[in-house]
């Protein structure tokens, strides 16, 4: 089980994503090289559009009369209709329509249409600049305002999507790592009748719980670290394979202080998640019953965290006490390179309290005689004398 949760994903993600990346690149290259038929209206012969597209060796141009309906049902065939009066319109300084027709349900045609449009855009710009030059005008004439965006965000941090996704991914992998182990060492031990033996030994209840909790947290943290590292490496690898090795997209640079805070928050989140999961699965009487708690537990833990995606939500006095949401927002702010120290301290203290409460609940359940003797645990009996 440890191999499945920790080692396999570590190797699986890079392999999976690099295979996917290679397939994607290969498919794109295939689609780029594959010849498609391009019907053009007879009047477009000699037009700038015809001359431009004739140079594209991946297009089989056929001059013919056709309607849009004629293209339906064809494979790998696009159509361009140029107005018969295109030359007069161009000479008069007017616009001339160029209709590009293709079946969007065919991936190759959608892919190639983008390339054709890009070429037509270049042609359009050439004609526009020529017209302006004739009027002794510069290209700036048609663009009075040149809008420039300047990013003032700190040098540290990373891209918005990445920094928002990483905390959720961390928590997901922690839950993934903790859950199976938690089932095995609680409900699983009850089912296998090995828990009673421990209780008759000189190990105290606190030591038994502590040992199990330590194992749980270790696996949870290791799972999160291995899976996340593997996924980030795999994403960079895929970006490289796809030729989108833009450092800005995948880069994440943090100051030493931010790194320490990230480690502290992730550690505290793991303590809370581990204790919470342990307290819940202890109520299960069998392995199978405990597994059925997986989905609801995951929802309870991840849904508050996913609220961080809501626009405008930030770490403040309204959100700082909500478990999981507070940690997610704190991590996002750290990953973006800006954080409020006071808020971070409050999140830390709150998480310590929540983790302690969850652990107390787990130990309370663990000390119940029905858990010890492997009998059925009833919720009401936990709190009765």
């Amino acid at each position: 089980m440890i191999y499945l949760i920790i080692l396999m994903p570590f190797f699986l993600y890079p392999i999976m994503l690099s295979v996917m990346g290679n397939i994607q690149v290969s498919q794109q290259e295939k689609m780029s090289a594959q010849k498609i038929a391009l019907w053009m209206s007879p009047q477009s012969e000699g037009s700038p559009v015809f001359q431009l597209l004739s140079k594209d060796s991946s297009l089989n141009i056929e001059l013919r009369d056709f309607e849009a309906e004629d293209l339906k049902g064809t494979e790998k065939t696009m159509g361009i209709i140029v107005a018969a009066t295109y030359q007069q319109q161009l000479d008069a300084g007017l616009s001339t329509p160029v209709q590009l027709l293709w079946d969007q349900s065919q991936d190759i045609l959608s892919f190639r249409s983008r390339s054709i449009k890009a070429q037509l855009d270049i042609l359009n710009k050439q004609y526009t600049f020529d017209r302006l030059a004739q009027k002794e005008l510069t290209p700036e004439f048609i663009q009075p305002f040149v809008v420039q965006s300047v990013d003032l965000s700190p040098q540290e941090g990373g891209n918005h999507l990445l920094t928002s996704m990483i905390p959720i991914m961390i928590f997901f992998f922690i839950v993934l790592g903790c859950f199976q182990i938690a089932i095995d060492i609680t409900a699983g031990e009850k089912e296998r009748n090995t828990l009673q033996t421990l209780y008759t030994s000189t190990a105290t209840t606190k030591e038994i719980i502590g040992g199990k909790f330590f194992a749980l947290v270790s696996v949870g943290l290791t799972s999160a670290t291995m899976n996340l590292t593997s996924l980030l490496v795999a994403m960079r690898l895929q970006a490289y394979i796809l030729g989108k090795a833009d450092a800005g997209t995948m880069a994440l640079s943090l100051s030493p202080i931010a790194i320490i805070w990230v480690i502290v928050l992730v550690f505290l989140a793991t303590l809370f998640i581990g204790a919470f999961i342990m307290a819940i699965v202890l109520l299960a009487n069998t392995y199978k019953e405990a597994q059925s708690y997986n989905a609801p537990v995951m929802m309870v833990i991840l849904m508050p965290a996913m609220m961080a995606f809501m626009p405008g939500l930030e770490l403040n006095m309204d959100t700082v006490f909500i478990p999981m949401l507070n940690t997610t927002l704190a991590l996002i702010s750290l990953l973006k390179g800006s954080f409020d120290l006071t808020m971070l301290l409050i999140v830390t203290v709150a998480n310590i309290l929540y983790g302690g409460l969850a652990l107390y609940l787990a130990s309370f359940t663990f000390s119940n005689e029905n858990v010890i003797t492997g009998e059925k645990v009833k919720l009401k009996d936990l709190f009765s004398k």
Partner: protein
């Protein structure tokens, strides 16, 4: 007289149901004490209270002079406990399991090594010592389980139905070992069983529990005399039926 097990007015309630009601007995060093009763009589609950798994609702238990409630660790160090609800760790082999529990009882390393070697030899575990416990037969598992209860060399051993489900050979081995533990090593044993032939053969004294109450405390002959029956089976049946 050296009392190593004392059950004093032990009672246990589960909600409104009184599973064990005012059970008292003492067991001396080197004695084999049989705890008998029909299913659901309260034997296992009594033994669990003696072992510290359950807290008595009333009364107290002492093991080797240590109160199970107040000197729990000392009491548990002196006790080896085995019931039918205890299984072995499937992914350990017998040697690893014995070492693990020896460590749990904080047995010094050198002493533990010698003790494990002794138990492996004494219980004939050598042929399967490297096999995972999940691969062992019922008889082999029971040998390892009993060896596990003795790994820390306790003065007191409680065995709840140790021969249930075993073949004759395995049962005989265990019965002989029980006798040896008591008579040669002076360990104190409580032995719970439904097999009255084993009781007659091994037990110095017995207690009969029925519906949570002590029906009889004394030796086997005394029970036969009291119930005016010739065999222990008849005596037991007569006693339980009367009550």
């Amino acid at each position: 007289m050296n009392t190593l097990i004392e059950a004093n007015a032990l009672s246990k309630d589960f909600g409104d149901f009184r599973a064990v009601d005012n059970i008292s007995f003492q067991v001396e060093a080197g004695e084999i004490f049989g705890l008998l009763g029909p299913n659901g009589a309260g034997k296992t609950t009594t033994l669990r209270m003696l072992s510290g798994l359950l807290k008595p609702s009333e009364g107290y238990a002492e093991i080797a002079g240590f109160s199970m409630a107040k000197q729990t660790m000392d009491a548990k160090k002196s006790l080896g406990f085995l019931t039918g609800n205890m299984d072995l760790y499937r992914r350990l082999n017998p040697q690893e399991l014995l070492n693990y529990f020896g460590d749990l009882y904080e047995t010094p390393a050198k002493e533990l090594h010698e003790r494990v070697e002794f138990l492996i030899d004494a219980f004939g575990i050598t042929p399967f010592v490297d096999r995972y416990c999940e691969k062992l037969s019922t008889g082999q598992k029971q040998r390892v389980s009993i060896a596990r209860t003795l790994v820390h060399d306790p003065k007191v051993v409680i065995l709840d139905e140790p021969t249930t489900g075993l073949d004759i050979m395995s049962s005989e081995f265990i019965l002989q070992f029980i006798k040896k533990m008591a008579k040669e090593e002076q360990k104190t044993l409580i032995f719970s069983t439904h097999n009255l032939a084993e009781v007659e053969r091994l037990c110095d004294r017995i207690a009969v529990i029925h519906q949570g109450k002590m029906m009889y405390l004394g030796d086997v002959q005394g029970l036969k005399t009291q119930t005016k029956q010739e065999t222990l089976n008849q005596a037991f049946f007569h006693l339980v039926k009367e009550n």
